[in-house]
Symmetry: C2
Subunit: 279 residues, 2 copies
């Protein structure tokens, strides 16, 4: 059972509604609200060599990146943490320092949560955002002929050993609103994330040029993950890195410079996977 | 650093707003939305002897109980889980079966979440509810002279070794709306939870009669926890179990049959604690 398979199984169940995008969208009268949750687990999403303040920053950044992916603006967040036996009071306070600094900068105050303990440190952030009515960018809107863009060269974080502080692209939210047909954030590697966007839109993608960050290689950009950049499609010519075009094809099929490209990246449920054609 | 101390420290920080109640309340134009997150950790909130379906039920029930405590109705939920190495695919499916059954019964569809892995199983549920504008019941509204009520005799779950399926009191939401000055759910033991309600309201409580569930003893009712019943105050005479009155006193002070009562119960952050007078 991998991440894609579990989500497919869940989608057909009674008691499930609206899953599969970066955020759930709740329609409102003047604006829509978007909701996301993201878990940060010791040893999976961070190592103890990271400073507590960086861990706190990262815990919130993951959620903010999902809000940016919907082209929404953050409103507030809730945080559940389970502290591990090794977490000192000072570590916990500095963890919150890092998280609250980003919360303040992003206009996303911490407004609730839960406290528990476990053998490893776990933080789960819930972020609520808002977007003008009907303007949330989904994964499912890409159309054949659309250009495919990324917001920056990719792979830099993977090439650095995942040491970089994630910077959610909230700065692009207003610039891209109304300009894109589909959008998501790149957290599990361009190839796996683009595969998911194409599946959601029922299309394929032909890639020609992939911008690679300084000191990174192509495989970092394609499968490294943790980029926290935006991947989006548009009928328009935009001033971002154009990497290819959406095509009519078996949903989820990727091609790079004329050859078939496997969707490989990080499956948070089971580790690194190469989804089969049935995913 | 215990739960109450951490919350007090957080409340004064920049980047924090609106913490301290069962849910965060977001004012809306026709209705207010309420938000809660609750973590369920293997070995802390459940043992592996529980069936996966019971674990799933419990994960959502904790959040629904917080929604009931605000006298709100659930709208949808998001779930983050970290699966442990021992979790088989069948266990995971049955966990969702239990959760989705309660989600369906409670009109609270699962609408998103996150998937990860850890050495223990961890589930964090976020539930969003709604309540008519200005009608959310807070912990902070109790006034001297108010009667104190509980929705049912207490201690039954503690006396059973915490084997009972929690039943969030969503059935009371409409009956109690407009009738109470303060409300919360009892999850950490009556004495600790009433202490928290009194602190939030700046009052004390004089208890005279505490209804004890069949096969339970007074200490189960006072400190056992996991009751998932409602604790509320009202200026009115209501047909629930009246346990005492709110009084003008040092905030958080409890008395039972004329004697001082220590607030003892479960602190989810550090295990069982007896908060000192400075909490």
């Amino acid at each position: 059972l991998n991440e894609n398979q579990l989500i497919a199984w869940l989608s057909s169940r009674r008691g499930v509604s609206g899953i599969g995008d970066d955020c759930y969208v709740m329609p409102g009268s003047s604006e829509d609200l978007v909701f996301t949750t993201d878990m940060l687990v010791e040893g999976v999403h961070f190592r103890r060599s990271l400073t507590p303040s960086e861990v706190g920053h990262r815990a919130l950044a993951r959620g903010l990146s999902d809000i940016a992916a919907m082209l929404a603006e953050p409103r507030f967040c809730l945080l559940s943490i389970a502290v591990a036996p090794w977490c000192s009071d000072a570590w916990i306070r500095r963890f919150y320092d890092g998280l609250l600094k980003l919360a303040h900068q992003s206009n996303c105050p911490l407004s609730g949560g839960d406290l528990s303990h476990a053998s490893e440190f776990v933080a789960d952030i819930s972020v609520v955002g808002a977007v003008p009515r009907g303007k949330a960018a989904l994964r499912s809107g890409a159309k054949p002929g659309d250009f495919i863009y990324v917001s920056s060269p990719l792979g830099g974080n993977a090439a650095s050993g995942y040491r970089r502080k994630p910077r959610p692209r909230l700065d692009l939210v207003k610039k891209l609103r109304g300009q894109v047909t589909a959008c998501m954030d790149i957290t599990d590697g361009l190839s796996l994330d683009l595969h998911r966007l194409c599946l959601a839109s029922g299309v394929g993608a032909d890639l020609d040029l992939i911008p690679v960050a300084p000191r990174a290689e192509l495989h970092h950009a394609l499968t490294g993950g943790e980029d926290y950049e935006l991947l989006f499609t548009s009928w328009k010519s935009l001033h971002y890195h154009r990497i290819g075009r959406i095509v009519k094809a078996e949903p989820g099929t990727l091609r790079y410079q004329g050859r078939s490209l496997q969707a490989t990246g990080y499956d948070h449920f089971k580790g690194r996977v190469r989804p089969g054609p049935s995913d």
